[in-house]
Structure formats: structure tokens, C-alpha cells
């Protein structure tokens, strides 16, 4: 946990403190919302709503978890509400379908890798994205929290409201599906 993160406490936050909190966590919340929903506008809306709700509920924060985990929990609820909106399902699916190569194109180019190895890696990244977007909601959520947000099992359990063992089960299933997908593409 960074020094800045430990210094900011929403229960103490005046508006200027909350602005600092937004600056610190906004990219992470936006990133997770974007990876979950696949739509920039929807991710932006969820991010704004997340901080609005956090501001309104800042007095209820009891430091039982980190601020990051607390904000993630709020974001997760908003994403879940949005994902349940059936009218958005078609557009969500349509927007996600175009993503795998787009995302894979952002893989860091390591000059120690041969062009063939780089291409193979990009194929694998695209396969992982494709597999992730086909996962059931809970598996996808824990997969993204673990491998994009680098959260550990306990943090994921707190953010999602699941038991740690349940998180682990979802992660195992997600990893198996991802491995199978990579195997299909090679």
C-alpha cells in the first residue's frame, strides 16, 4: 500500500482530499469498468457514479479493507447492475467482439523476443481476452481482478463479497477455460 493511499481517509476527507482520492484511484476504477463492460462511455459513467456513491457513503467507511478494495466493491455493484440491463446486452456483446486484437496490439514489445515470439504472444493475449469475455460473470470478474488489477484472493473476496474458497474455485475454472482457449488457437 502506498504512502498516499494510507494518508487518505474518506471519513476525514474534505473535498480537496476526496479530489486527491479520485485522482489516485480513477484510472484503476475506469480500467476495471472498461475491461468488464467493453465500452468507454459506460466505463466513464460507472467510474463517475462510483466516486459519487463513495463520496455519499464516505462516513460509512470503517477501514475494514483498503480504499482500493472498498471502491472496487462499489464499482462492481454498479457494473453488475449495468450488465443486468438486458437492453444493453446486444451492444455490449457487439462492442466486445471487436476487442481481442485491439487489446493484444497493446502488448509491450520486448526487443529480446523474436518477431515470431511477439506474434505468438499477441495471439495468446487475444485468446485470453476472447476466453475472458465468454466466461460467466463471476469468473470473469475474479479473473480480471486477479490478472489485470493484481489483487490477491483475500482482496477479491472482500470486494466481491464471496468467500475466499469460492473466489479460488472461480479462478480455477476461469484459468482452465483460458488455457483451453489458448490451446484451441495454437
Amino acid at each position: 500500500m502506498s504512502g498516499l493511499e494510507t494518508e487518505i481517509r474518506p471519513d476525514l476527507a474534505a473535498l480537496s482530499d476526496f479530489e486527491a482520492l479520485v485522482r489516485l484511484y480513477r484510472p484503476r476504477i475506469f480500467r476495471f469498468a472498461l475491461a468488464s463492460l467493453g465500452d468507454v462511455d459506460a466505463a466513464e459513467t460507472v467510474t463517475q457514479d462510483c466516486f459519487l456513491r463513495a463520496y455519499q457513503a464516505r462516513e460509512q467507511f470503517r477501514e475494514e479493507c483498503s480504499l482500493h478494495t472498498w471502491l472496487m466493491r462499489i464499482a462492481l455493484n454498479l457494473i453488475r447492475d449495468r450488465a443486468r440491463n438486458r437492453r444493453l446486452q446486444f451492444w455490449r456483446r457487439a462492442s466486445l467482439m471487436a476487442r481481442p486484437l485491439d487489446v493484444a496490439g497493446h502488448a509491450i514489445r520486448d526487443h529480446r523476443r523474436s518477431p515470431e515470439a511477439q506474434a505468438l504472444l499477441q495471439e495468446r493475449i487475444a485468446a485470453i481476452w476472447s476466453a475472458a469475455e465468454r466466461l460467466p460473470e463471476k469468473q470473469r470478474t475474479v479473473f480480471l481482478l486477479r490478472f489485470v488489477e493484481d489483487m490477491d484472493l483475500l482482496e477479491i473476496a472482500v470486494a466481491t463479497g464471496m468467500k475466499e474458497g469460492t473466489v479460488k474455485t472461480h479462478l480455477f475454472r476461469a484459468l482452465r477455460a483460458v488455457r483451453e482457449r489458448i490451446g484451441e488457437t495454437e
Partner: protein, 139 residues
């Protein structure tokens, strides 16, 4: 033959909680070691790629003009002015013309009534009026 690591055992490694048997196997089996390394690298790079892509998307979203409309060309401005003028004339005409028609109708009615009055108040038929004038002139 050494049984290779199962999907669950590889996942244990990925999640950082391998058991002793799997750890021993990885040390001895080059194939499983290679598979684990490739899978771990792909997952690590996946996270990095999603983070880079997300940052890129955020920058694109921020760089888009929020609500500034594009400046209109002079031609477009003239067309808009003419369209507004035509619309204004149409609105004015739609109020003024019906009133004029009503006024004209009232004037026509008044003229007709005057004609009727004139006809009714004649002392002799219209065809005999020239004769009466002659009689008056002689007197």
C-alpha cells in the same frame, strides 16, 4: 512415465500456492516447466496489454472535444439565414393573410348590402331612371 501437471496443479502455480508434489514435478519436467512459463508470461502480458489499452482509451476519451460544435462555413450561415427568413415570412403570412381575407369578406358584404338598399329604395325601376331624370330636368 511421469504424469504431467493437471490444469488445477498449473493453476495452483499461477496463483502462487503449489503443493510439494507439483513443485517437485516442475523441477524435474521440462515440458511442464515450459508450459507453466508460457502460461504465466501470457497472463502477465495480458494484464499489461489491458492496462495499456485502457489507458489509451481513457486518453482518447479525454482528447475528444466535449461539446464544442464545429464552426459553420459562411455558405452554411447564409443558408441558415435564408431558411430562418423564409420560416419567419411563412409564420407572418399565416397570421396576416387569413385576417385580410376576413376583412375583404366583410367589405364585400357591406357593399352588397348597400346595393340591396339602393335597389329597395328606388322610386322607379332602374330601366326607367333615365326618363325620370328627363322629367326633372324639364321642370
Amino acid at each position: 512415465m511421469i504424469p504431467h501437471l493437471s490444469s488445477e496443479q498449473l493453476s495452483e502455480f499461477i496463483l502462487g500456492r503449489p503443493n510439494a508434489v507439483a513443485t517437485r514435478h516442475i523441477r524435474d519436467c521440462a515440458a511442464c516447466r515450459s508450459e507453466l512459463a508460457q502460461f504465466r508470461e501470457a497472463l502477465g502480458e495480458f494484464g499489461g496489454a489491458v492496462r495499456a489499452w485502457s489507458a489509451d482509451q481513457a486518453n482518447v476519451a479525454l482528447s475528444l472535444p466535449a461539446s464544442l460544435p464545429e464552426p459553420r462555413s459562411w455558405r452554411a450561415r447564409y443558408q441558415l439565414a435564408w431558411a430562418l427568413l423564409a420560416a419567419a415570412l411563412f409564420i407572418i403570412a399565416s397570421f396576416v393573410l387569413p385576417r385580410r381575407v376576413e376583412e375583404n369578406a366583410a367589405a364585400n358584404d357591406a357593399w352588397l348590402l348597400n346595393q340591396v338598399d339602393a335597389e329597395v329604395s328606388r322610386t322607379v325601376p332602374a330601366s326607367m331612371e333615365p326618363l325620370t331624370r328627363l322629367v326633372v330636368e324639364k321642370q
